[in-house]
């Protein structure tokens, strides 16, 4: 249960909004669940709906709408490469292609160990740092700009190690 493990986080999230407008906390609470479970599970949706006095469908409908929310697990770390126009003009599509080839997966796929997914995404407001990607994982989202296939593979090694030791 989120409510027990994260009671102080939940309290400080709710405190940001007027008492009769708790529904505003739905996205932050879904993030909390996703960091904990790797996706927003049905149990988590029910719990969030209860906390906010809204319908479960009102929580569930947000998942398809917002690209950073997932209702099923993918790779533990999702490497989201920006392949939008400005980055593509700086070689981002080739970069994505080569990285997937090295990992032996298709764009949108996950490595067999379930650790790494690679996806192509829209502009991340870092167009002067192409090729670039963000890593979405258990500890939120981090940006990595001015990447090469080698630097990306080194980062992936590090993520795998981090997982072994933690």
């Amino acid at each position: 249960m989120l409510a027990e493990k994260y009671s102080s986080e939940i309290e400080s999230i709710l405190a940001k909004y007027p008492d009769d407008r708790k529904r505003s906390a739905v996205l932050p609470l879904m993030y909390l669940a996703q960091c904990e479970y790797g996706s927003v599970t049905l149990e988590a949706m029910i719990e969030i709906a209860d906390l906010l006095d809204i319908d479960v469908t009102q929580v569930a409908s947000l998942i398809g709408f917002y690209t950073l929310l997932w209702d099923r697990p993918g790779g533990k770390y999702r490497i989201q490469i920006c392949t939008d126009l400005p980055c593509a003009l700086q070689g981002a599509e080739e970069f994505a292609h080569q990285l997937c080839e090295k990992l032996g997966i298709q764009l949108g796929g996950t490595t067999p160990d379930g650790m790494i997914s690679v996806e192509g995404v829209m502009c991340l407001a870092a167009c002067n740092g192409a090729p670039m990607f963000q890593v979405q994982g258990p500890d939120g989202i981090q940006y990595h700009e001015r990447q090469t296939v080698e630097s990306a593979l080194a980062l992936i090694d590090e993520l795998r190690k981090r997982d072994d030791s933690g």
């Binding site: 529904r23 505003s24 709408f65 917002y66 690209t67 700086q90 502009c123 002067n128 939120g140 981090q142």
Partner: protein, 418 residues
Amino acid sequence: MADHILLRHRDIPDLDQLEVYLEHGGFEAFKQAVTGMTPQEVIDVVKASGLRGRGGAGFPAGVKWGFLAPGVFPRYVVANADESEPGTFKDREILERNPYQFLEGVAICSYAAQANTAYVYCRGEFWDLAHELEHKIDALHEAGLLGEGIFSTDYSLKIHIHLGAGAYICGEETALLDSMEGKLGQPRLRPPFPAAQGLFAKPTVVNNVETLTNLPPILNRGADWYRSIGTEKSAGPKVFCLSGCVARPGNYELPLGTPFRQLIFEHGGGIPGGRSIKAILPAGASAPLLPATDEVLDTPMDYESVPKIGSQLGSASIIVIDETVNIAWLVHKTTRFFEHESCGKCTPCREGTYWMHHLLQRIERGEADLEDIDLLEAVARGMQGKCLCALGEFAIMPVISGIQHFRADFEARVRNGR
């Protein structure tokens, strides 16, 4: 510009530290406002400065604040940090490197609007940045610059960070407000405008990050000084985001009215590899494409001049296209973006972006006929003027202008395939 006004962190190291920001005159403007000016006086100075919104529409900031429903409280200020337009990365630099000037701007705007609560709506991808900003806000509370009874007056203010979760449409101000209320981020029918009924149905000011970052220097140095920068109708400095086929992509703070040529060739170092420039997208994916003629390159980048040559300045995200780029491919990219980001609330945009994308895929794969180019244009024209919000209108601009100026590129794709 030797001394930056908005990207001041480039001149002053560690400006993201509160002590450093305070040493360089930080929060003096806010103090002056709260202790020596009425909210209306602040609005008047901002009106006189000519500051226009930097989020895309260029609407005069002080005028917008003047629309707040009189006598209705509480009121809210929401800073728009959703920054998701392809080619736009200025707000992120400000938030990361010069966060206190932005936060002081939020505070000044809140005082002028008589709001005691402000929110910063950050796109969900700005996760790290949002957590960093929360620490900065904590530091302001500890320094007594936020909270109850600021500067021993009865004014109080809290600023909260709200993270989105990945949706370009949430940058549209009414979609942003619905998203903040925990709903799907879809645009609202207007009126009522946010100034009458915004967040939680209360009077609300929504301004872009860069707009707000202009406020401390305007109060410190005055409206006349501000008006001396830029052009008569487009006052002040602007952060231009330069990306695409250019040697030195990046943010450049320059006066409004600087010509495209100067940005692209002097500051951006021109096109690498001796190639020539073919076209410009002046406002990310959301405005008509311009062929890079001498007339276009010599046009001043301001809110009046760019429309005169058939496009928009928007958020001033200049994407440079060189001669190696096929425009059908480019339009396929922008259309894919809008198809993905269409919120689905109205039919012309939801269906139109789908069909335009479908046709462009056929053209790209070499499976199309020449008539498909006309069909594509017809779908785009069919959407024109029928969409509920500006996203649908943005989506057709690269399509129509692309076919208009570079039809041969589409035909080449059809004839040769890939």
